[in-house]
């Protein structure tokens, strides 16, 4: 670029894809997007929404830290993680949309709370603010990324080539997220009395939402060979968490079970009270201007 006229590039004709583009057409170019024979498409869409909503809603929560992190370096790191997850969400919602005939924005902005399929761990308020603090945020990130990394490493073998490609791409990102969270867990567990106390409290805050991560849903049963049964991930994830908590000198909380509502939870579209406010904020502008283009 020229430094003499900051504006000269503005009117050039290269308006396509100079920004982030769609973010997935490039990332997944060359991937066969046809649906594999014999796959239940409705179930595939539901499954993509589950994994996509997990990423979208957790990304929304993480981005609340922007300009509020303890250090500039950490502000940048949390934004990176939020961006990775947003990218995963967009690819997954787009895949769901190929079945449902809706685009990523229609799915993100025009579904109501009962239609969102994310786990509760993604939506609860862990701070900044009264809902938690940096330790609770790290505790959630540790659990979420350890679980999702295990899930994506299995999902690489999915019979759906798009899901397999999304998993392949996401794997490196999630390994970084888990590593980042593990390092902070150790630092905070080991650092000062206050940080140890807060990190332990952070674990207690998120642990009731752990069981839900490993509960097999009917959709996952339907999609044998396409979806991953989360129950099969439990011992691997437990082992990872155990190792990190040991290194940090922290105690594994015993309270793992938040009761379901009439047997239902996030995967069934039954959420916590925090979810309505999160969606109200996220969706209001898009819904306020029907027909607008962004």
């Amino acid at each position: 670029m020229s430094f003499d006229n900051a504006y000269e590039s503005l009117l050039g004709g290269e308006d396509a894809h100079w920004a982030f583009g769609t973010g997935f057409s490039e990332a997944l170019s060359g991937v066969n997007r046809e649906f594999p024979a014999g796959v239940d498409r409705e179930a595939l869409a539901a499954y993509c929404l589950m994994l996509g909503d997990d990423a979208l809603i957790f990304s929304q929560r993480l981005s609340e830290w922007c300009s509020r992190a303890p250090e500039l370096e950490e502000d940048i790191a949390l934004a990176n993680i939020a961006l990775d997850l947003l990218g995963q969400a967009r690819m997954l919602l787009t895949r769901a949309g190929e079945v449902l005939g809706r685009d990523e924005d229609a799915l993100a902005y025009l579904r109501d709370e009962r239609e969102f399929r994310n786990v509760h761990l993604a939506e609860i308020d862990c701070g900044p603010g009264p809902g938690g603090d940096f330790a609770a945020t790290i505790a959630r990130l540790l659990v979420f990324s350890s679980w999702r990394l295990a899930l994506f490493s299995r999902l690489r073998g999915s019979a759906d080539p798009v899901l397999a490609a999304i998993a392949e791409k996401g794997l490196k990102e999630l390994a970084y997220h888990r590593d980042h969270a593990a390092q902070w867990t150790v630092r905070l567990g080991d650092g000062t009395d206050e940080s140890h106390r807060r990190m332990q409290a952070g674990l207690e805050r998120v642990w009731p939402f752990v069981d839900e991560l490993f509960a097999t849903h009917a959709v996952e049963v339907t999609l044998t060979g396409v979806a991953v049964d989360p129950a099969s991930l439990r011992s691997e994830v437990d082992g990872v968490l155990e190792a990190v908590l040991n290194a940090a000198g922290l105690t594994r909380p015993t309270d793992t079970r938040a009761a379901r509502v009439a047997g239902m939870a996030g995967r069934d579209g039954v959420h916590t009270e925090a979810m309505g406010y999160l969606l109200a904020e996220m969706q209001h502008l898009h819904r306020s201007l029907p027909g607008a283009v962004w």
Binding site: L10, T22, E71, L86, E281, L285
Partner: protein, 312 residues
């Protein structure tokens, strides 16, 4: 001896060569630079807030990603610049305290509120645009680490500006409500953007010495004129107008004539009376104070680790 050093410094600066951290430099040069770079760093960090205000509500996932990445870039700009001050012997923690205690300033533009999503585009176009006009000359400034930081920052600012302009172009192709939103936003940001170049030359202090040191390279009024000249064709292409009845092409001068911003409002905002001054500082202070235990823990852990390594 001191005269020799001083002469060599003068020669280096006048020949447009770079002063590097280990070179001798006059005290006044060092102090002026620290103040200028720190204020610039503070502006990047405080500048995260007005646009950060819209991340959670961005109306499409693509715009959400672009906005989050942009605000993240600003944190990176703050980091490069604080690092440049550290090569002059300053300390990030100390400068942050000066910011949150109101002892150092940041760009006053960020004391204006972002009220609609169009503001995200207009800030990219006009505010990042004005920042680029101010900063491009600094890529040739005499202090090496500052000049190099500015080259990188200017490239990224230019990308922000294109993103902002593209958002506005898209909105102008949308509904009438969106077009009205863009025009309203331009009406609110035009004058504050012109104020970003600082008070008129006749009232500006420090300029002469900074020009001699090659820390500053153009006067406020020169840069302001340049910005107006560049912005007009952009506004026409976009289909918006600027709220200045005196704005018109002057054939004789070969430049645009334009009116003066309300300098009373400018000074009022600079002195703390803007809509968001208190909010911006309180936000920054809260993040810094809430994060204190985390930074302490990181230091304590590193120290324990170092002791263990030493013992082993």
């Amino acid at each position: 001896m001191a005269d020799d050093l001083e002469r060599r410094f003068e020669r280096t600066v006048q020949s447009e060569a770079r002063i590097e951290p280990r070179d001798w430099m006059p005290d006044g040069y060092r102090k002026t630079l620290i103040r200028q770079i720190a204020q610039h760093a503070h502006s990047e960090i405080i500048g995260m807030q007005p646009e950060g205000n819209w991340i959670s509500r961005a109306p499409s996932l693509r715009r959400k990603a672009i906005l989050l990445a942009k605000v993240q870039d600003e944190a990176g700009h703050g980091l490069y610049l604080y690092s440049a001050t550290e090569t002059l012997g300053a300390d990030r923690e100390d400068l942050t305290l000066k910011l949150i205690e109101g002892r150092q300033k940041y760009s006053s533009i960020f004391n204006y509120p972002t009220l609609t999503f169009a503001d995200v585009g207009v800030i990219g176009w006009l505010v990042d645009g004005a920042a680029i006009c101010n900063q491009v000359p600094l890529c040739r400034t005499s202090y090496g680490p500052y000049a190099r930081a500015m080259i990188r920052i200017c490239k990224e600012e230019s990308f922000h500006q294109r993103q902002g302009y593209e958002l506005l172009m898209t909105m102008m192709r949308g509904t009438q409500q969106q077009r009205d939103m863009v025009q309203d936003s331009v009406n609110r940001w035009w004058w504050p953007s012109l104020m970003m170049f600082g008070p008129p030359d006749a009232e500006s202090t420090n300029t002469e010495q900074s020009m001699a040191w090659r820390i500053k390279r153009d006067t406020n009024d020169e840069l302001r004129q340049k910005f107006v000249n560049m912005s007009m064709p952009q506004a026409e292409a976009l289909g918006v107008t600027f709220p200045d009845p005196e704005l018109r092409w002057n054939d004789e001068r070969g430049e645009y004539d334009f009116g003066q911003p309300d300098w009373d409002e400018f000074w009022q905002v600079v002195k703390g009376g803007g809509v968001c001054n208190e909010q911006r500082i309180a936000h920054r202070r809260k993040a810094h104070e809430d994060g204190a235990w985390v930074r302490e823990a990181a230091v304590a852990h590193a120290a324990k680790h170092a002791r263990k390594e030493g013992a082993a």
